[in-house]
Amino acid sequence: MGRMLLVSRLAMRDLRRRRAEAALLLLCVLAATTTLTLALVLHDAASDPYQRTRAITKGPDVVATGPLSRLETLSGASGVAGHSGPFPVTAAKLRTSSSKTSDVQAVGRDSNAATVDQPLLTDGAWAGPNGVVLEAAFARALDVGVGDQVTLAGRSFSVTGVAITASSAPYPGSLCLVPRGCVTGSTEGAPAGVLRNPGLVWLTRADVMSVAQKADNQFAVLNLKLADPDGAQAFIDANGGRGPRALPMHPWQNILGDATELAHDSQILLFIGTWLLALLAVASLSVLVGGRMADQTRRVGLLKAVGATPGLVAAVLVAEYVMVAVSAAGGGLAIGTFTAPLLTGSSAGLIGGAGTPSVTLPTIVWVITAALAVAVIATAAPAVRAARSSTVDALADAPRPPRRMRRLTAVSSRLPIPLLLALRLAVRRPRRVLLGIAIVLITVSGIYVLLILNTYLGTQELSGGYGAAQVEVLRHVLLVWSVILLSLAAVNTIAITWATVLDNRHASALVRALGATPAQMTTALVGAQVLPALLGAVLGVFPGGPVLFHLINAIAGGAGDRATLPTPWQATALIAAVLVVVAALTAVPARVGGRRPVTETL
């Protein structure tokens, strides 16, 4: 107990003493845990809300549409355990009091509760004469609530309720129930007469018949409960018929896919983002920890001199990062949970959708474990190295010997002074250079993919199945990804520069004593970051970006050949922009390092 107290006290004190570095660490892990939380919450959103909605609303295993007579026969087919309907259905044009219009499919329901597919009211009451109930996501998209007036096929109706159902995906992915056909997502080029992104509304049977159009006469929808829900597709194959007389039937698994398509796509994007960010977080931690270790050598020596064992020293160092990791995990869970509703727009028509993202125990465990793993992986090696180092050397604050690269030293002597110094500073720590390259490579690859996805979403033709609202949600996901990715990359760049400044303070002071100007030293420190960044940016544009994009396509099953890749000038501009940003971000720490008084160090 006393040992634990000592470890935690020493760790806490050191964190307090180096608040800025601790804050940087926290930020790195926070970014990764936030994205992981979002990805896990969306993973749940991609399946759980539909299943819960299906259970509560007695969701059907098969939804069949077609002529009334054929549906009546189907309700008695083998394997059917229960049914509701057939209910009359018709297409209509809905207009709100604020003059918004939309195609709708109106289903005529009975006033008594159905044993299969009983939509759950989230607000108001069930539809009576001259009353209409709107599907929740559709109501939200139109900004219509209980008590509002709408017109259907020119007839005025009062909105009596808002409900959710598992018999159709939420708006705008509603199941097509009418014979004339529907188009969801982009409606450009859609044939005349088909419904464009229709919403779903429920009326009384009589009201549906009164607004029914001639083409939809005698058309109905039947909800079936099967003895074997998993065999829904087999039931359809056996009873749906073939050719032009085939009866349109939809298994619940397809509705689940449609209902959660957007959340699923968002989740894939975020999971890949999480991996990238986790890699960045490990890289940043390694840099920060390495930088701190360089500064902590003497502290390690002191601890060992007063009797701390190598194990205790390692425990103190690891404990610091574990504390940061746990705090970051808590923050990430909170931020991820509150941000998730922005990214779950498609599930507004399901239980546990927007506004109520569920953070489950497994999600909490995953996030905390990941944060701890990142912290331990990044700190274990330097902590053990510090603990094993010679006490005398550590007390003398002996720096780790830098690497010698003979050929680069020879080549650099022919370069202008700032470049000469930059190259020599960079190659003193090859591993840090590799980390710098990796960080820029990951970031540029991510930006490359973001450019492709942004162009894809912005091009109406290519946006395929996504409507404007869905594009907006996916843009939110990309925005979250971009902000976190760029923030973490910026933190990394600053951290690497600062570690370089700390590690090279003796060499910098000496070179200044030999006649290098502060400006030359500052330029050299910036150059030491820009040179690896150049390599990382070039590798990020090729092959990093294309490889990452194809990876996403492979996971998501997307059609990569339809994507517009960045043009060569865009790629060049991206590389140039990265270099400018890296130079700008490193300028301040480099200037501080380049102007540090020589006599403080020598």
């Binding site: 010997p401 830098p402 690497r403 010698r404 690269m405 030293t409 002597s413 022919r414 002074i417 000469l420 020599r424 003193r428 003796h506 060499a507 000496l510 070179v511 200044r512 004593a513 030999l514 006649g515 290098a516 100007t517 502060p518 400006a519 030359q520 102007r595 008084p597 020589v598 006599t599 020598l602």
Partner: protein, 248 residues
């Protein structure tokens, strides 16, 4: 001695360095005046903490005085910008530090030529001059050795060669034998005597009397001020022979 030789290469007046304020005010250097003529070798002696190194840093433009003025070759250096100070350190001043301060990843010759490269010399010329200087300090055959493969005395000789590579007006040495054993100290003493004889202007901060004995003038310092100054005549200077033997 010619008129030019009488002209001070380095001159300081009313030099002061203060740290802290109020009751915590510490005067590390207090109202120092000094003139060092071309070709002269001066030793500043005193106990640890008396302000010797601080004085040296101010004279060499590594640190700025709180008050007073410093002139190198008649140019005020205490008020010039960092860039001009850097130029001054590159061309007019050479430093030798107690801890050698060699870059561990560079060989002896690369360490020496670095100062020449910073001064803008062509790489080949810098390399030739560095090799020649290493030969002068007795390190022929050690050019490609890393500092970790050299003894303390050899490292300090590399540092001296580095200080000389840009033919500075004055070499400032801060406890050049402070980190050396007896044998290495002797090596460095011989080197400084050779520099002295070659006419190189030298200011050496030390508490090693043997070094001081090789100089033209010995100044004692205590609590930030000069307390005594001894001009060493031909009878008293060159005492190195007493320590090093006739062959030195």
């Amino acid at each position: 001695m010619s008129h030019a030789a009488d002209k001070p290469v380095l001159r300081a007046r009313g030099l002061r360095k203060e740290y802290g304020k109020g009751e915590g005010l510490v005067r590390a250097v207090d109202d120092i005046d000094i003139d060092i003529r071309a070709g002269e070798t001066v030793a500043v002696m005193g106990p640890s903490g008396c302000g010797k190194s601080t004085l040296l840093h101010m004279l060499g433009g590594l640190d700025r005085p709180s008050a007073g003025e410093v002139l190198v070759n008649d140019h005020r250096v205490d008020q010039i910008g960092e860039r001009a100070l850097a130029r001054l350190r590159r061309t007019d001043i050479g430093f030798v530090f107690q801890s050698f301060h060699l870059l561990d990843e560079l060989t002896a010759v690369e360490n020496v030529e670095l100062a020449a490269l910073l001064a803008g010399r062509p790489p080949r010329a810098a390399r030739r001059r560095a090799e020649a200087l290493l030969a002068d300090v007795g390190l022929t055959g050690r050019e490609s050795f890393l500092p970790s493969s050299l003894s303390g005395g050899q490292r300090q000789r590399v540092a001296v060669a580095r200080a000389l590579i840009n033919e500075p007006a004055i070499v400032l040495a801060d406890e050049p034998t402070g980190n050396l054993d007896s044998a290495s100290t002797l090596d460095v003493l011989r080197l400084f005597e050779a520099l002295h004889e070659s006419g190189q202007t030298l200011l050496i901060v030390t508490h090693d009397e043997r070094i001081a004995a090789t100089t033209d003038r010995m100044i004692s310092m205590r609590d930030g001020s000069f307390v005594d100054e001894t001009v060493l005549t031909a009878d008293t200077t060159g005492q190195l022979r007493v320590f090093a033997g006739p062959e030195a």
